[in-house]
Amino acid sequence: MNHQNPKPPRFADRLLRWFCKDELLEEIQGDLYEYYAELQEYAKWKRTVFFWFHVLHFLRPILLKEISGTQKLNQLGMLKLALKTTKRTFFKQKLITSMSLLNLVFGVLCFHLIHVWIKNELSMDSFHQKINQIHLNTVRTNPQADLTPLSLELLFNVNFDQFSEVEKMLKVHVYNEGEIKFKTTDRIFDGKGFVVDSTFFGFFDFPPLSGSIDNILENPKNIVLSEEFARKTFGTSNPIGQIVEIKCDNRGSYQIAAVVNVPSNSSIDFDFLVPRHSQNFWRRIPQEFILTNQFFDLTAFNNKIETLGQNERFPESLLSTIPLREVYFNYPFEANIFSKRGDIQSVYIMVFIAGMILLITVFGFINLQASMQLSNIEKIGIKKLIGASERSFVYEIVVSRLFYLIVCSTLVFVLFNMLFPYYVNAMEVDVEPALFSDFVQILGATGMAVVISIFVGYYQFSKVKTEVAIRDSSSYHKAAKVQRTLTSFQFGIVSILVIVTMVVYNQFYHMTTTQTGFNDENIVSVDFFEILSGNRSDEERKRVNAMHAYVKDRINENPQVEGVSQGDMPIHSIAELTSWKRIGKGFEYTSQNRIVVDPAYVNLLGLSVMEGRFFSDSLDQHGQQKVVINEAAMKYWEIDDFTTTKIASNTSGRREYSFDIIGVVEDFHYEHLSNKINPLVMIYRPNIDDNFLVKVKDGQLSEGINFLEELYLEANPNGVFTYKLLEEEVEAQYSKERRIGKVYLSFTIIALLLSSIGLFTFALHETKRRAKEIGIRKINGASVKNVFTLLSGSFLKSILISFVIACPIAWILMSRWLENFAYRVPIAWWIFVSAGIVALTMAILAVSWQTLKVAQKNPVESLRYE
């Protein structure tokens, strides 16, 4: 044998020394060293593993070190004891235990539900590996106009091959539900279809359910389905290999080649993908993406392409490309390719609410645990007197809190998975659950509450003076200042949330009931004609013009129709910003809203003319230099007499055109109600391809729509008829507000419940402490009412103080928020009063359960005790 003394792994050795009984250590270490020396012939790592293996097998009760002190216990025995005391405490304090659990489960559950949503929102589109390389091409038709995502190659003849930093191109024609039909052998389905280049999967990483999808779109006979749509159309049977038919402005049959998953954190959402080269021509104007390589520099590239699109038709157009990863939060495009638009503000708000709920939960839990510990104060005193070490107390605290951790995380996890589908529906969010990471996060959130409560518990324990605890245990109950503060704090937060919710609801109510200034009932919008691209022949143009006149006549003749106009819909982001100025008086060009109208527009929407007249068929012609402005524009340009005033525009080309003002209409809300009514210029210049707004007679809406469908199919024999209702479009602008209102309301109610649990247990504790005092008071002639007011009063005082502090905070927060709205409801005094009433009522309900019980108790019982 080798005489060199081999050194066994140091850490294992130290571990052994730590846990092994001192008197046995020598022989055990000796045996292990000898064993290690015998392993000479093995590789070092093997010896280490063997050594560790044996060291760990010394972990058996009989060999473990005992705890120093008077009790002869080892770690295991201590654990047993701690478990036993924990169990006993829980059974003795059933109410506090279950309230603690309820509080923790509820709070963590809510927190996690919000957390899942936030996470989904922030990870939007990040699953595409090349997300940082994907850019979306956009255009501004003039410097003031909004960015519009369009194919620059098709519309502006930009040749992207000349740029070495562009690797690949992708065009996507989007056909919305209703615009494209998906036909299986026996049924027809509506779906959202993308017509895409074969490079699609080179850009986006939608994971396939099976197999590889790399080159799948190169075959023009293939079609790819989303998982959800595959389920909808084929149920549980395997769709791969099935033949389906597609019908929009083209028709063709395809074979299903793959099914891909569209995750909830994808802003791009489709039901099926059709290869673009399967047909020669798709009428829909596509969106366009470019995939860039490492030589790409955004600013440099945008400078290069900026003016490439300036031609006769769009002399002022500015081209640019924007990173896809910025689209979701920064560019709320109305383009159909993006089915979701992010709102960073609501993410912040949700982060705030989640934080508040977690805070309330943690406070509540600490509070409940602290009162539980206080009720055991005598036990602690006696244990200390006998000589229990500090460690044994820590052990007990940790074990009891671990119980909460395990039970609560499991419950939350189960509940979360049960509630998840309802949550997704109710909040109108799109999130997918992820089992493992959900569990880890739930564990984390619960763990936080638990760890903090361990520290608080330890702090509380370390403050206990043995002698005082035994002699006068009730004096400790008074020390619950922390508890009182925490409860008040909780109620402060709740008051803020209640006020916030009330203000938000009030504002939304105000918005949805405000008169828009126009009549949106029974108006159907139909897109009869597609945009004619520049290269159409004159013949084609003539045919379309004739068809246009025919369609218009047919609509006007119909007895169910009250009126038809090709003006713009008065909804958000329809008006186009263009530059205008008043001639003379030193006005400069500014960006102002412009919408396109025709003479029928005024009656169709029921606008009222203040001065002058609206366009009329007899006096005005399409395209003349005349405008009608709104009241706000009149004020803005300080116009006293419109008949002598002219305004000018330099939008079309660099030349300046002057316009006569022929009339002024009363202000109406042509934008989202959060906007102030801005100056508006209306010109008589609708294009053939603009939507038709058809007002149908009251009660004949469905007949009217049927008529329009027939007419549409007559004009577009291969087309698919779709329509929009103006009323619904106007409504839809406020869906976000409605959703936020719902979210606020539900989480406020939850916060209110959570803090009521806290207050309830606090009251329980407090009344117990004063049981004797109340007995004496009652003997001396105090009535139930006296006692009740005395007890409740002390709680309500702190609630009241917290409410008073909460008011100005909420006020500041809400006046900030209201600044987003041009027309805001003032934060009325009654909001504060009713929020106060709500908070106080909840508090009184929570408190009076206990106080009433104590107040009605026979004093003999409380005094005889002891």
């Binding site: 055990i28 000796g30 045996d31 293996f53 097998h57 009989i62």
Partner: protein, 110 residues
Amino acid sequence: MGKDHIGELEELILLLIVMLKEEAYGLSIRKALKEHASRVVTIGAVHGTVNRLERKGFIESSLSGATELRGGRRKRIFTITASGKKALQKSKDVKVNLWQQIPELAIEKV
């Protein structure tokens, strides 16, 4: 469990302690177990068992024989006590008695 009852591993180890005499310490018992009884156990298991046996009063021990290989640490040499011998004897008797009461096994043996 009665105080004088011994388990199977305990019995084996007791027998080996008797057999090994002066050399009966933890590691050597483990080796002997492997050699004579084809039982591979961890060193910890051996120590656990001898400690239990000692607590029951079946063996005694003394420290001796530090070597360099052991990092200068002494061995604990175990010797069997009278009650240990009794327990072994009793355990054997029980088994022999049982064997003899089962005719099939008794015949097979012949």
